[in-house]
Structure formats: structure tokens, C-alpha cells
Symmetry: C2
Subunit: 515 residues, 2 copies
Amino acid sequence: MEDKAEIQEAIQIQGEVVRKLKSEKASKEQIDEEVSKLLQLKARIGGDDGKHQFVLKTAKGTRDYNPKQMAIREKVFNTITGCFKRHGAETIDTPVFELKETLTGKYGEDSKLIYDLKDQGGELLSLRYDLTVPFARYLAMNKITNIKRYHIAKVYRRDNPAMTRGRYREFYQCDFDIAGQYDGMIPDAECLKIVHEILSELDLGDFRIKVNDRRILDGMFAVCGVPDDKFRTICSTVDKLDKMPWEDVRKEMVTEKGLSEEAADRIGEYVSLQGGMELAERLLQDQRMSQSKQACAGLSDIKLLFSYLQLFQVTDKVVFDLSLARGLDYYTGIIYEAVLTQAGVALGSTEAQNGSGAEESVSVGSVAGGGRYDGLVGMFDPKGRKVPCVGVSIGIERIFSIMEQKAEASAQKVRTTEVQVMVASAQKNLLEERLKLLTELWNAGIKAEVMYKKNPKLLSQLQHCEDSGIPLVAILGEQELKDGVVKLRVVATREEVDMSRADLMDEIRRRTSEA
Amino acid sequence: MEDKAEIQEAIQIQGEVVRKLKSEKASKEQIDEEVSKLLQLKARIGGDDGKHQFVLKTAKGTRDYNPKQMAIREKVFNTITGCFKRHGAETIDTPVFELKETLTGKYGEDSKLIYDLKDQGGELLSLRYDLTVPFARYLAMNKITNIKRYHIAKVYRRDNPAMTRGRYREFYQCDFDIAGQYDGMIPDAECLKIVHEILSELDLGDFRIKVNDRRILDGMFAVCGVPDDKFRTICSTVDKLDKMPWEDVRKEMVTEKGLSEEAADRIGEYVSLQGGMELAERLLQDQRMSQSKQACAGLSDIKLLFSYLQLFQVTDKVVFDLSLARGLDYYTGIIYEAVLTQAGVALGSTEAQNGSGAEESVSVGSVAGGGRYDGLVGMFDPKGRKVPCVGVSIGIERIFSIMEQKAEASAQKVRTTEVQVMVASAQKNLLEERLKLLTELWNAGIKAEVMYKKNPKLLSQLQHCEDSGIPLVAILGEQELKDGVVKLRVVATREEVDMSRADLMDEIRRRTSEA
């Protein structure tokens, strides 16, 4: 029997040899020879008594959800879905993969993170990268010009996973979008109201919702003297302000992106500004800013937005922040992002212990984002007909992480089933009687179970109830059968009452109705 | 402007030229030249004023779910999840893709239908083909030896889609499985009870659940004189009995598979048998069948199964059917399949109109299947430790199709939102007042919406309520504001009542509590 670790190491070394030869552009013969040695090594490790050795793991950046995690996930989804429904949204679903060309040209630099399917003959397909582009495709394809819809589904990004911080390659997005030609900023304000409601209801600690507008950013770049062709690249540098100090951002602008020092300093003044409606008013009077029509349009909309946010009673958490940029190409107007101000820090500090840098721990808190994208649907329409859209996406994985930590820390047990009663017996040979009662309970709509043993011990039946939080036990014995009754036991108090089968169902329902 | 169809045709012809040259192993130069012509043609069709021409469709064999379909889907899922929870199941989730090797060797011939992801560097991945193999991987990976879990998720098969009949390349499975070493046939019987409950509750018309056992099939083949190495292939021919008459099956066995006529005829006698517990008893006495230990073990288990099915009150729909084979490699004991006996026919006849053959329309009715697979988890365990499992999978797409047809046929409208009340106004300049009341309603947990217009017409607001089934309208006007009341209008009856805001919430809840 060969030592597996030794071969593994040999494979690694041989792999290096092959890579080196390739990088040195060695002769084909020479490379082929070394590759064949590598394959022989790999074959040796595969053969274990002829049995294939499985790697027991999930794909990189993905994870299973165990029952406890699913119980938490269900709770979070119920809160989010409840909010979306309260706001009158319908829901749709789209396939997990799209034609590759549907996704092409929508994500800018991030396109390299798209998962492609293997060409097995037929169409070229890619896994969806978000839910927004499939939504736009859906609208154009079905010629829908107005809809308010939510969509909760998994999306896929070949990103560098950081799973302890809730960053995965497969992750859920919970999207709410309003499509249609409406009076300005009412749907936009509703999206922020929704973020406010969900984050408050989930009770994740304090949060802020930063708001800005693509037109304000562009106008600001113009009046600060950024050349037109540098808007996008300077914008992506500004986007780093939540991760690095202004000095470093300024340096990148000047030395890497070739911006003049004066322009950079002018930007620096603006992006340090934060406020509310009064800041928008002030900037509308600002000598430089007011020269840009675009910026003024954005600033007026921010003012209008804040007036609706006041009616919606959410201005306590919303900040107009000129440093907010957001990466995606398709935004055309207002943009926003919600950050947890407390939990972010908490997560960050455990991260720091795990050795990951401060650079990452600061941005941990972002849990929702979105904006207005008035041009995306038009990209799919043969005649380019536009459908104005605004939406928000809740980044649920990070929220799961926090909820899981809270559940771990809390004394309260997370139940993974909803069983109301276990049908048990203290005596032997009563399997048939247990199954009969179980059937009656199921048929009456009661959640019930039984141990799959002919003669289980009463203690192990009670232990199972303790373990999985089942509150009641219906106990059958010779005497109960003779008397035509069932003994109902309350697990928590050990109280026991005999009752007729006719009364049993109602009593179980009564005692578990709060659950 | 060039004619697109003409270029398309030219592309096709040019494609043929290239393929022909390649097949004739023409010179590289010659092939390259023709390929370059082909690319030029393709470029011409792509260039429409420099704009890319999108194909507006979903990938082959997939579909979007619109809000109406989602409403039906949610209802079906609620019924199924409700049943799984009533039986005390937990739930888990696994990633949509697995390491390719996790799926290798589990599906026999069907492996060719697995979707692979493109090798973009890193691990080789495949989309899951079912939920059973990921479940077994999950158990082995986490060393779980007993669990009762359900899993509702999409699976992927590069099959020939037949979407009108509910056969897709992306489709939902609803799986319920019981893993663990338990006393014989109790979990197996519960799986059948679950199928019975779900199909009854969904009210899809009459159905039958066919039951057989892999060991009975293997024993039958042995005593009928089928050579050991032909068990699998003869089994897959038997599996076709629900699609073609015995004569054709016999012919395939004898002429294609080389089975002796006597053996085929002996099999023919057995596979025509259907019954219940008494058939199992008879076969246990059967001179030939009783020679097989395997068959006897299977028959005894069928007897035991039926005794539990009697207690579960489901024998009315369950048939012991020796012709039931089922394709998947991993089954080791009892197998079953549920067929709709009415809806199957109905769907079949619309199919026939669409030109698809009778061969397909007969098998339309299968909506659930499963069985015992005691060896699968051991395939993933490094030490081969077995975890006995039995489970059932509900084939939901076909059920959706039927429910959709029923909804179409029914006069009752399918609501796609749950909005209880619309906040409306008959007068101008009351947007702020509408948004204030809306906020109060949302904050009180009431599902409410408003039209996103500054001054919408009352008629269009009422029309929206009619269209989307919103039962109540809260109307604000100058007079109501002055009096501190709201006018609540019942859409169906046009009845209107003025009430204080304090009473409004309770009144809305009261009037929509049945919904």
C-alpha cells in the first residue's frame, strides 16, 4: 500500500514541472512526456483496491444547509416575503441558466465571474449572475411595461469566496423591483421603505441606508474637471472609499489613473459630504455643482425622494452620501446601499482573528443595495423600447450568518421540525395500535410521528421528544386501550391526563396553537 | 438592408461546406478559407446598425414562471410541504452543482443527460441530476446515520424536452426520505402514505400506486432462466411494459436481447400479475418463485408492507404489480410509482392533437416514484458504511400542468397578490395624504398599495382593484380629511362607510380575515 500523502506531494511537484515547461515554451515532446508522468501519478492515487476514492465535499464556495440552518433561513425568508407581499408585489421565477448572450455586456468587468456551462451540443448557456438581468429579459420577452415583482433565488459568481463572512459562489438574492412609467421618485422611495422595514424587522442591530445618484456622480466628475473618458474608471476608484482612506483613493486617481491633482482635490471635497435634504439644497446652490444640468436633475430628485421618505417615516436611517458609487454598469439614476453599523463591526472582529485583513472587515456590513436602471430592458427589446425600473436586492447570506450566530449565542433551541405530538407506548407489541392512532392524527391534520421500532423503550421515545422539542406525547398501553382512552403527557411539565380519542385532537390543537 | 433569412440560409450552406471538407480531411488552408467565409457571413447577420441582435428566449427545455403560475406553484408547494411537515420531516438544501465525480457512476445509462459546467479552471462541476445522490453525499459527509428530511429544489437533465406534457430540462423535485436502521417496512409504508395524502389533497383525480421489489424482479429473472449478466438489460425491457404491449416486449427480449423463448414466456406469466397482499402470499407458495431466496425475502416484505398500509388506510390505491421495474441503478428493495389514471388520459389526448405519438401519451400519468436504496450512502463513505434509506420523489411539473389547466377552465380568478386595500383619492393634490395613510397601514402590517401617480383618476384606481382582486379601497378626500375619517369601499358590493382611522385597521382585518 503506497502512502497517499507522498503521492499527493509528488503530483504537486510534477504539476509545477509541467507548468514551468509550459511557461518556458518548451518543446511539445518534452511537455507531453512530463504530462504523461503526471497522469500516471494521478492514476496511482485513484486506485484503492480498484475502488474510486471520492472527495467528500461540496464545490468550492458552496455549502449545504443543515436542518437548523434551514429553520433560520425559512424564518428570514418569511419576514422578507411578508414585507414584499405587504407592498403588493407579485412573484416570478426564471431558469437558473440563461443563453450566454443574454448576460453578455451587462456586468462590465465582472463578466469574468460568470459560470458558463460546458458546450455539450446545443445552446451556449451561463448560470445567472443576478436576478436583475433575467428580470429585464423577462419583461422584454413578454412585452410587460409595468409590474411590481419579487424574486427570491440563487445566483452564481466565480468570485473569491470568503465563506466565514457570508460570501459564497452560490448565494441567494431577494429582489424587489418596480417597472413602469410613474411619477418621479415614488417607487424609488418605496424601495428604501422596504429595506428599512426588512432590516428593522429582522432585528440585526443599527443600520444606515446610503443614497446617491449616478447623475450627481457624473455631473460632479464633469465640474471637477475629469475628462469624459475617465468617468467610469474614476467612479470605480471612488467606490473604494468604504474600504480605504481618502489619501489612498486620491493617490490611485492621480498616479494610476492620471487625474490632475486639482481635479482630485475638488472630488475630495464633494465625496466627504453626507447629509439629508438640506445637503441636496445646498449643492443645488453650489457654484461649481450647479453648472451641471445632470447633477441638478439628480439633486432635485434626491430632494423629492427625501420628501417621500419623510412621509414613509424612514429618514432616521437614510443618508445622502456623495461617496457611494456602486459597481454595476446598468444603473442610470438613484443608487443606494444598506450597511449594518453594529453587526458589521462584530463580524469584522471575528474575521480579524481568523487572519483576514482589515481591508475586508470594514465592508462586511453591506446587506442590501439597488438603484434605478432605466436602460436595461431596452437592451433586450428589438426596437429598444425602454421600461423604467427601480429595485432593491437583499443580500441574504450575510444576514443568515448573523442570525446563525445569534441563534448559537441564544439559550433558546432552534426547532427543526414542527411535530406536535409523538405517539408512544410503554409496553411491547403495540406497534399496530400506535400506527392506528398515528393515522387518526395525520388524517386530522396533526403533525405527529412515531419511532420506527416494533418495541421501542419509553425512555428513548421521551428522549427523542426532548431532543427535538416535541411538546406532547400520546401514550398507549393495555390499560388505556381497554378503557378506550389515550394518556396525553406534556413533555415540559411531565403532567399526564387520560382522555377519550374524541377529545384528543382538540386538546392537542389547543395546547400547541401558540407554536 | 440585407435579407436576414437569406444570410441565415447562406450560413447553413457554408456550414455544410466546412463540415464536408473536415470529414474529407481536406487541407488546413482550404478549411481555414471556408471557415473565414462562414465567419464573415455570421458577422453580417450580427451587425444591425452595429447593434447586437438578441435572441429573446429562455434556454431550451426551460421556462419562466409568470405570477399566475407562481401563485399555483405556491399553493402546490404549500400542500406538499404541509404533508412533509405533518410527518415530522426536517429540510435541508444542497448546492445546485456538485463535483462531477460525486455524480459519476450513479445513474447508469442516464449519465449522458448530466449537464457539466465548463472547465474555467478549478474543480470539474456538474448540475445535480436528482436530489437523492446529493442527499446520500450529504449523509456520508456529515456522518449522519438517521434523519427524516424533505428537499424541494430544481434538478437538471439534458433530456428531450416535451414541455406541453410537463417534461422540462430544469424541473422541480419534491423529495422525502427516511434514512436509518429501523424495523422492516415501517418507513417504506410511510412513504406510500405520504404519496397517498399528497395526491388526494391536490385533488388531481383518481390514481394508483404500483409497488414491486427489486429482489422479486431479480429472483423472478433467476427462476425464469435469465442468465445473471442479462438481469439489468431484461429489467429495462420489462420497464417498457407501461408503454408497449407484452408482444413487443417479448420480441425485444428474444430477438434483441437474445433471451430464450421459454424464459421470456415464463417472465410473461409473472409480469401480468397484479394484486395485493394475497398475491404476495400466493407467490410465496409458487413452485418456481419460492426457489429464490431473494424473491421470498421481497415477497415477505410486500406482505408486511401491506399490513402497515392497511393500518395507514391507503390500500385502496396501492397495487402490487410485478411489471414495475424503474430505471435507476441504486434501488435495492421496494420500488413504487404513482400514476394518475384520469388526468393521464386527459393530458394524453391533448398531446395526441399536438401530433405526438400514442407511445408517449400513455405514460403521461406518472407523478411520483421512489424506493429503497440501502447501498448509495455507502458508495460515498470511505469505509463503505451503509445507511439504509427509503424515499419518494413527487414529480411536480406534471402536477403544475394539470393545476394550470384546471385554473384556466375554472371561472375563479387566480389572484397574484394578497393586497387587502388600495389607498385612493378622488381629488387632486392628495398624494402626500395617500402616502401618509399608506405608511400607517404598512406599519400596522396590512397589505396595501397606492398608484404611483400624483393625481390618478378614481376610476383607474378602482379598475386596478377589479383587475387584481383587491377587495377594499380606502378613499381620502378633502371632506374626509376635514372630518378626520376615511371612506372604506367594498369593491364587490360598492358599499361605502366612513370611519375613524383608529377603527380602519381593525375593520380591514375583519373584512379580509377569510382571505
